[in-house]
């Protein structure tokens, strides 16, 4: 069986699995799964661009996904009247001061290079003073902003633009952040880079969680607008009701499914576009150069390739893709929940997708996204079904049975870990291995 035939069979297999869920658990669930699979596939694509193209080991995708979600808020949330007047200037001033402090700090640091204690001392003083100035500017401004209608708002709000624009903005925001992060940290060795990106992404989440004036913090930003129709609107429309009955269903059920199908269509379009662009890039001279650098960095450098710049390019591009996916996720949720960004789900799980799917291969990353997300969600019902089967002989309230049923939810952690270890050991090239050109 040739590899491409196998690939098609595997994707077809995914479709069958999703159909299976549709019949077994309901099409609503199946379509929700599909949408999340597509988003996961795009995130995996982003990580694969960094790892597969350039061998960059970054475990910071959580931060860039969150920044994408933030774009959703900034672009499409309703503007809060009075908030900007109350503290907008102060916040802007404070942000400007922070950026200036950072720039000044870097400048002082570089100018005093190799002067030991003086370097640390002076840079420290500059940073401290800058920090205090920013706080002085921002503190009262933040307090004022958060006082504007705290129950419903208490933050700066957004621009009230269509949320679909946030997908692009999310990509740009993530790209910008990635540029800064990459500039300072890409020189690190692989495991140090991994830890640094993990730390940086945690810091980003922290800021998003606690800077209420920007994101409402743990109160979340809900009710973000949609790019697709609302179910209630569909159900209310008589044309839709007629159509629903004509296909043998009712308006409520049909509305839910139609909305999800609309999302699926939009998301698939983005996935296919990103995939297409990635594949073109991979086969282009640029892509060949990237892989040459990945496979033998010293040789590439000796040939005059600017390795640092290339790495930065790839890092930014991959993060942008992750940001787009993050914005799409916030769109699907209709809300921005900073506390939902956990490293397990947004960083490590994506890595599992890339590894299992086939690192270095875009189609592999996509397949990995589908497969891993599917089993991540389905592991609980499947586990419950399996445990029910195994314990069907036991009495209804045996302690063991109850305990097992309770723990079914954690089976997915175990299984995901075991699958990752098994794949790494026995099938390290993944489901769709990289094609050596």
């Amino acid at each position: 069986m040739t590899q491409s035939y196998r690939n098609i069979m595997m994707f077809a297999g995914m479709a069958v699995l999703l159909a299976f869920v549709g019949f077994g658990q309901g099409w609503d669930i199946s379509l929700l799964l599909l949408n999340m699979c597509i988003i996961s596939a795009i995130m995996a694509l982003g990580v694969n661009i960094q790892w597969g193209y350039a061998g960059l080991f970054s475990i910071g995708s959580m931060g860039f996904a969150a920044l994408g979600g933030l774009a959703g808020v900034i672009v499409s949330a309703k503007p809060v009247s009075g908030a900007w007047q109350a503290g907008g200037l102060g916040v802007l001033g404070g942000l400007l001061a922070t950026i200036l402090t950072a720039a000044l700090g870097v400048f002082v640091w570089r100018r005093l290079a190799n002067q030991g204690r003086r370097q640390y001392l002076l840079t420290g003083i500059v940073v401290l003073i800058g920090f205090l100035v920013s706080r002085g500017l921002m503190g009262p401004a933040i307090a004022a902003i958060e006082e504007v209608d705290p129950a419903a708002a208490g933050y700066l709000g957004g621009m009230g633009l269509p949320i679909i624009l946030s997908w692009a903005v999310g990509g740009l925001l993530a790209a910008g952040a990635a540029w800064v992060v990459g500039k300072v940290s890409l020189g690190l060795r692989s495991d140090y880079l991994a830890i640094a990106t993990l730390g940086i992404s945690e810091i980003i989440i922290f800021v998003l969680k606690f800077e209420d004036w920007l994101t409402r913090g743990v109160k979340n930003v809900t009710g973000l607008p949609r790019p697709v129709p609302y179910e209630v609107d569909l159900i209310a429309s008589s044309a839709f009701q007629d159509w629903a009955t004509s296909i043998g269903s009712n308006a409520t059920a049909a509305a839910s499914i139609v909305v999800k199908l609309c999302y699926a269509g939009l998301f698939s379009a983005v996935l296919l576009l990103v995939l297409y662009l990635s594949e073109i890039a991979l086969r282009s001279p640029w892509g060949r150069m990237m892989r040459a650098i990945r496979d033998n960095e010293t040789a590439a450098e000796a040939m005059g390739k600017n390795v640092k710049a290339r790495h930065l390019q790839v890092f930014v591009l991959g993060s942008a893709v992750i940001g787009i996916a993050g914005a799409m996720l916030t769109t699907l949720d209709g809300q921005f929940t900073p506390t939902s960004y956990q490293p397990l789900r947004f960083t490590f799980l994506i890595w599992v997708m890339v590894i299992i799917g086939g690192s270095g291969n875009n189609w592999g990353a996509v397949l990995g996204g589908f497969v891993v997300w599917f089993f991540w969600i389905e592991a609980e019902p499947m586990g419950l079904w399996a445990i029910n089967l195994i314990t069907s002989g036991m009495s209804e309230d045996s302690a063991l049975r109850l305990h097992l049923l309770d723990s079914a939810a954690y089976m997915r952690l175990l299984t995901m870990g075991l699958v990752l270890l098994l794949v790494l050991r026995f099938a390290p090239r993944g489901l769709i291995p990289e094609v050596k050109r």
Partner: protein, 337 residues
Amino acid sequence: MADILNALVIIANFIIVPGLAYGSQLALGALGVTLVFGVLRFSNIAHGETMAAGAMFTMLVTWWLQSMEMGFGPLPTALLALPFGTAAAMALCLATDKAVYGYYRRVKASPAIYIIVSVGVMFVYNGLIRFVVGPQDRVITDGQRFIMKARAFKKATGLNEGLAIKTSQAVSVGCAVLAVASLFWFLNRTRTGKSMRAYSDNEDLALLSGINPERVVLITWLITAALATLAGTLYGLDKSFRPFVYMQLLLPIFAAAIVGGFGSPLGAIAGGFVIAFSELTITFAYKRVLTYLLPDSMAPTTLVQLLSTDYKIAVSFAILVIVLLIKPTGMFGQRSS
């Protein structure tokens, strides 16, 4: 005079005592991470979960002891259970090495692969722990809760501010001191310990000298498991046992190890306290302290807090990132490649 003493007591109560306890716990965790990095040459992302596993084993034995009405007097019963918990954690680590890491040592995999593998191990440990004890909060402390109560202190000294010292805090510091002293004695005064340092320093030369690598690996895992169990149990005694908390501790522990110099045991200890005290001092509200120290006219009206307490753990992340970017070798590290 009383004002200065009061200010000192506040600092002792809210910064020094908790800092020493938390620093001890971080130091023990960082020691485990730094040992694995120094000898086995990879960053073990699963170390937080190893601590959780060790704490879980200890907790299970503690419950068993408590159910048999066995206690340890004023000290927590968990201390009695520690040896058993440690043994179980050692078995877990050795089994994992045999099943997982050993293969990658044989094929000389790259550091990135090791990290991804340890992520897989982290998933498995995480799932196993929740499977066995569930995700909820458990209190495992018993025995006398306080060595010194705030009220008693105030009565004895007549000061306004009280100093409370929990048993678990004193136990943390005491155990850490014992553990560190034993570890250093082992590394510097025994033949096996020196062979581990040699292997960590120069692997080829160590092999040439006839040092058995498998033995070094075995002992490293035994020590790491012991340190992880101790750190996890002490932290669980001090706060409470919640499985997911240990994943959050992973970054502060790595921060401590890296700040001190990845691969240097002395660095891990220093780093643990640097991180702990940084977290506390940077997020502390100095209002009351300043009120005592400054004349009334200059008493502060705001909290005088550099960063809000929410950001406590973010401080360690920030220190980690800054150290990695500025001086990745940390305070005591030498290895640069």
